[in-house]
Amino acid sequence: MPIHDQSYRHYGGQREPLGRAWLVIVGDGVRTIMRKRAFIGLLLFAWLPFVVRAVQVYLAANYPQMSMLALKADTYREDLEKQGFFVFFITIWVGAGLIANDRRANALQIYLSKPLARAEYIAGKLGILMVFQIMVTWVPSMLLLLLQTLFAGSFDFVSKNLFIIPAITIFSFVQVLAASFTMLALSSLSKSSRFVAILYAGIVFFTQALYGIVYGVTRDSSFSWISFLANLEEVGRLVFRAKMHYDTPWAVSLLAILAIVGVSIVVLERRVRGVEVVK
């Protein structure tokens, strides 16, 4: 009678190669958020400006007397700036608890005991936030450009404004990356998502208010680098080749944004780790 081997036999099924676990985090995170009806309502609301613009594009393309409604390249920049309003709310809604909730639940030590590098964990969390932010910035802008081209029946607008596609892409990603990294860093600092949300709102509004006060006193807009939103606006104007709004050199605004992202990465590097055991 054959005697079968009773010793340990390792799992023989297929496994994804290492380095893809962050995609699982993104997928699960996106699904979890999309289960919330109120959030879907916010997303739909964030697409209302797109609907209005789509009607405008249609009218401008089909009725010569409405041609003054035709979109210009700068309209895309203005729209992306306005979408910053929705980016703000989505960042707070989705981002505040991304790491804070894991820290509160002590889940980091479990996550980091799996085949998941810290960088992958952060990439996964960033991915969740960025998916939704891109859905209200880059996606509607590119779709609008596509509609404009289709309704016009020619590539004239795109060929006259060759910078438009890279400009939409760069400005969208600058907005998204700055907001995502800032929020994620703040989320890693606390176990309370509410506190994180307040902190993020505080940073956005406080820096804007501070700049307002400085401007009120000095009447000099070269201090706009103090403001988170003003820096984004300046970079947006740069990539869309529009006239600068503030006296701050664009390089300073860009540096300020890069500094925010850099500091956020340092904070994340220090805060996202297995729980230290001190009794």
Partner: protein, 355 residues
């Protein structure tokens, strides 16, 4: 930031310090783990490390000025190994170092023949069950385990099946679709255990896995650990209760103040420990009925009540736990919800050992 302090004491002090060791009456070659004695300029693991489960070489971890683990050189063989020490001894630190969650301040640690820090490939071969609760109360047990298994590279279907098997193994399948927030302490322990073993790891690292479990769940978990090892896999389990460790393995590492104090067969220290009263806190539906049953135990030293719990001191923990399990199973004194043991008694033994 100030530089971390150098570890105090000499490395030569590490090693068996059981009574008799100093006067040449030391136990014969201790089985199981091998503690390296004496300083070494090399940072590579000792030769015994080849094929070892875990091999640490002059491994230290500081938390600022606090030493979590102090110059530990040890080789842990395959099979079940118990890590025994009082709270704050360094058990959790050692476990977090061997599961790659903490970066060593000094020295190296290899698990399954590979360096573990920053090496996710090794993590796929490990299963870690932390001491603290570590989950979202709003998720069901099944959702939580499935989500974690997916991080090991399983597809959704495979992960769901692996999670189901793991939950079945820890006897939690009936409650798998309930929110973790509604789980008892013992169920929470078991769902943590399920996530640790769901991806079929070669090594299970269990940090105080029996804490808070009711007697029946304890017995099942102990059986599970032994069965797991019987299938050729390895387990490192920590506890501050000798009785728990002894029920799973004879091979132990004694750790105290961040250092490996002794290692080898559990029987070598059990007599010492039995000399000290063992305290057990039992959370029960009817503590007074339970206390009445305890009064018939001849090894009972004292009894007191704390809200919904009864705290007993016994001279023979083995017998006490056995009878407590029988009592819980019979239901004569109502439901026994949770059993915990403070480590004062073990601390006393450690103090005695290091004299």
């Amino acid at each position: 930031m100030s530089a971390p302090p150098e570890p105090n004491g000499s490395r030569a002090a590490v090693g068996p310090v059981l009574p008799g060791a100093a006067d040449g009456e030391a136990e014969p070659a201790l089985s199981g783990a091998t503690v390296a004695a004496g300083p070494s300029a090399e940072t590579s693991p000792p030769p015994e490390a080849a094929g070892a489960l875990v091999a640490s070489d002059h491994l230290s971890k500081w938390y600022g000025q606090v030493i979590g683990l102090n110059d530990v050189s040890v080789v842990v063989p395959h099979g079940i190994t118990g890590l025994l020490g009082p709270n704050g001894a360094g058990k959790s630190t050692f476990m977090k170092l061997m599961t790659g969650q903490l970066k060593p301040s000094k020295g190296t640690v290899q698990v399954l023949g590979e360096p573990v820090w920053n090496n996710p490939a090794v993590f796929a071969r490990l299963g870690f069950c932390p001491e603290q609760d570590a989950f979202y109360d709003r998720m069901t047990g099944r959702e939580w385990v499935t989500a974690l298994v997916r991080l090991n590279g399983y597809s959704e279907g495979q992960a769901a099946e692996a999670a189901r098997r793991a939950l079945e193994t820890v006897d939690l399948l009936d409650a798998a679709d309930r929110k973790i927030g509604g789980y008892s302490k013992g169920m929470r322990q078991r769902v943590k255990l399920a996530q640790a073993l769901a991806h079929d790891p070669e090594l299970l690292v269990l940090d105080e896995p029996l804490g808070g479990m009711d007697p029946i769940a304890r017995r099942k978990t102990i059986r599970l650990v032994r069965e797991w090892a019987r299938q050729g896999r390895s387990v490192i389990v920590s506890s501050h209760i000798l009785h728990e460790i002894e029920s799973m393995t004879q091979n132990i590492l004694l750790i105290n103040n961040g250092r490996i104090l002794a290692e080898g067969n559990v029987h070598q220290i059990r007599e010492l420990i039995d000399e000290h009263p063992h305290t057990v806190q039992i959370l029960a539906e009817n503590p007074r009925a339970l206390a009445r049953q305890f009064l018939a135990f001849d090894d009972l030293l004292s009894l007191k009540f704390e809200e919904d719990a009864v705290v007993a001191q016994t001279a023979r923990p083995d017998a006490f736990y056995r009878r407590l399990t029988e009592l819980a199973a019979s239901g004569e004194a109502g439901e026994v919800r949770e059993v915990t043991s403070p480590d004062d008694n073990l601390q006393a033994v450690f103090q005695y050992l290091v004299k």
